[in-house]
Structure formats: C-alpha cells, structure tokens
C-alpha cells in the first residue's frame, strides 16, 4: 500500500488471486453476548462459512484433490466420486469446476433441497440414496459404484483419507494457535468424518498437551444434526482416532436448533445446525469452567452458514 493510501485511511486488501487460494485463513469471532454472564470465559467461533464453498469442508476437499493430483491418482480422464451429506460435495464441485474435473456424488435423499440445488448449479452429478439409511447408505452406494468401475473414478473417500485430517493439522490448528496468541485452553467440535477434530486436536496437543480437546456426537443414531455421526452405531471412519479426545459430549438436535437461533439473534451470526451444536457444546464447557472458578479460552468451529437450512421450520419455533 502506498503512503498516500495509508494517509487516506484505506484498508489493505488481499492482492488479486485465484478462488482456491481464498480457502482457509478464516476469521475467529469472539462470541461476547453468549458469555456475558460467565466471568473469565471467552468463547470463539472459527468462521468457516466464509470459505468460498461456504463450509469447513473446503479445506479437506482441497487437500484431498491436491493429494490426488500429486500422487497421480487424479487425472482429467477421471471422475471425482465420493459420498457426502452435502458440504464436502459442494467443496469438491466448486474446486472441480475451477480445475476442469467432473464430479459424481452419493448423498442421502433427505439432504436439504438447497444443497441439491447448489450441487446441480456447480454441474455435479447426484446419486440420491435411501433417506432412512442416512450417510451410511450413501457410503455403501458409493463403494459399490466405485467397485463396479474403479478405473473410471478418483475416489478420495473422505472418511478414510488421511489428507482429510491433515488439512486441519496443517491449516486450522496453526491458525487457531496464531489467532488466540496461543491462549487457547479448550477446543470443542462435533464429528462427522472426524477430520476437523482429529487434525486440529493433533496439532494443538502437539503444541501443548494441556489444551483440552473435546469431541461431540449426536446422542443417538437418529438425529437431525446434518453431517454428524453417532460413532457407536454408525460406520466408524477409518481416520477417526478415539484416543485423542479428553472427553466427549453428547448432543441433542433440539439444543443445536436453539443455539443456531441464538447465534443469529444474539451474535448476528447466521450459522448452520452443526455450528449451533458446536457452540452449544462450547457453552456447556464454558459454564462448567465458570462454575469451577476457572478461566478459559474455548474455541469451536462454525462449520457452515444458515443459507442451506433456511427452509427448516425451527428458525421461527
């Protein structure tokens, strides 16, 4: 920036670049009003909805595609194939469009209409799987499609691909350390593939083993927490490592709805349902620390924004 621009009070803006380069380096927002009555407790939300594909899944999707290109497994004659409850699919579809790949996705038929419309708008081919079987049904269908024709596809398999959690180990973890000036005491997030939790927690623990890493899951296999998994009854992702978490919290769908609404109305942050669940879990941890008279710097992940869930009735309940 020139000194003239400085003098005029103009803010510096990033130089022009590519869409893909804008993935990551998201802001960390202090959730002040939620913690007004909790002295010594700070809760922060990592604003992953600011990623160009609108969710935290841009990070692993980009890393898995990059890894596929590096290893030679992904070439332009291959179709990118994976199962997803939506956000990873949107990230694949966006990156694939920008790089000239085709995408085929298996997703449960009860994924939100907005997701399906977004995926189609990016030009992805959708295979809708049995709604009653949830994301596990999509996983099984995807494996079957791949097995029929393995040469036709690049199948990153987000549930088993180390490049998923490594994206968070290499980017999300270091960003949180820098953005909290290494003051972070607790990291709390719910799990689907478990990539965000596993990768971020590994990096944080490596930096300081005292940082409490707390996972969260739906309380039963029957829930409305899109993208999240109840590990005891679901197909457990190969990348999940159950030895990392200091503790696990169990989430109710209704609590996530209530918190998504509070985030909109009290913090001005229009976030999705899993983000609501994450903030609910972070607030539970905050209340517990406050009751014990402890200070805490708690960080959670605002996985995506509300735009894909606006047709849900809970906003006005």
């Amino acid at each position: 920036m020139s000194s003239a621009a400085n003098a005029a009070g103009l803010r510096s803006a990033p130089a022009a670049g590519e869409l893909i380069a804008s993935i990551g380096n998201t802001p960390l927002f202090h959730l002040r009003r939620l913690t007004e009555d909790l002295p010594g407790i700070e809760i922060y939300g990592k604003a992953e909805f600011i990623n160009p594909g609108g969710s935290v899944k841009d990070r692993p999707a980009l890393n898995m595609i990059n890894e596929g290109e590096r290893s030679g497994k992904l070439t332009h004659d291959k179709i990118i194939l994976d199962s997803t409850s939506g956000n990873t699919g949107i990230a694949y579809a966006m990156i694939a469009a920008a790089r000239g790949y085709r995408v085929k996705l298996c997703l449960p038929a009860n994924a939100s209409p907005e997701r399906k419309l977004i995926l189609k708008a990016y030009g992805a081919e959708l295979i809708l799987t049995d709604a009653g079987e949830g994301s596990d049904g999509a996983i099984r269908r995807c494996k079957a499609i791949y097995a029929e024709n393995p040469d036709l596809y690049f199948y990153p398999d987000q549930y088993s691909n180390p490049a998923n959690w490594q994206a968070h180990y290499n980017t999300t973890g270091p960003e949180l350390l820098a953005q909290t000036q290494e003051r972070i005491t607790h990291f709390v997030t719910a799990m689907g593939t478990s990539g965000t939790f596993v990768g971020t927690a590994r990096r944080l623990k490596e930096h300081n083993p005292a940082i409490q890493c707390i996972s969260a899951q739906p309380s039963t296999g029957f829930h409305g927490l899109e993208g999240l998994k109840h590990m005891p009854t679901a197909i457990v992702p190969a990348i999940y490592d159950d030895t990392i978490a200091d503790e696990n919290l169990w989430l109710e769908t209704e609590d996530a709805y209530v918190m998504a609404r509070r985030m909109a109305r009290e913090e001005g942050l229009l976030v999705g349902i899993s983000a609501g669940g994450n903030v609910h879990a972070a607030l539970l941890v905050g209340k517990r620390c406050a009751a014990e008279g402890k200070k805490a710097v708690i960080v959670t992940v605002l996985c995506d924004g509300a735009s894909k869930y606006l047709s849900e009735p809970f906003w006005n309940e």
Binding site: N110, A111, E114, R115, G134, E226, E254
Partner: protein, 92 residues
C-alpha cells in the same frame, strides 16, 4: 393395517425390524401403537410433552403429513408410513 417403515438407526429400538404393521386409523394412532409395542422408540420420536420432535418428518405414501392433516391424517391397510430424520431440510 398400515405399515410403518423403520429407518436404520431406529431398528435397534424395534427388535431390529425394518417395518412394523400397526393398528390405527390415523398417523397419530399408528405411531402410538408403534411406541407401545416398542417403548424405546418413544424418546427418539417424541418430546416429553408428547409432540413429534421437530427434526422428525413423517410421510404417508411419500406425502409429508405437515401438508396433510398432521397426526390426524387418516391411514388404512395398504398405506405406508415412513419416518425420516431431517438431516437438513424438511423435504426429501
């Protein structure tokens, strides 16, 4: 008798069955008969106040009961009732 399809995550609470035939002239009666036969389903489907939980969508032959007559929607033999969790978005 109407048939209720049990989604995979709920089968553990319904003796592993994928469908259950129940008595009842309305969706409300059919679901009540289901949770009487399989009491562990109750807290998965209903709130403490007895209302269907907000993320639970119920369909009669692929029609969402919210757009029919809700729990008063009539059912008869040959009708299929599906229980589908909203994993974001009420429609399917």
């Amino acid at each position: 008798m109407p048939k209720i399809l049990i989604p995979t995550p709920l089968r553990q609470f319904a003796d592993k069955k994928d469908s259950v035939d129940v008595a009842g002239a309305t969706v409300g009666e059919a679901l009540a008969a289901l949770t009487t036969a399989h009491p562990d389903l109750k807290k998965n489907l209903f709130t403490d106040e007895g209302k269907l939980r907000s993320f639970v969508n119920v369909y009669v032959n692929d029609e969402d009961i919210r757009f029919l007559e809700k729990d008063k929607t009539a059912v008869a033999g040959g009708d299929t009732i599906s229980i589908v969790p909203s994993i974001a978005g009420g429609a399917r």
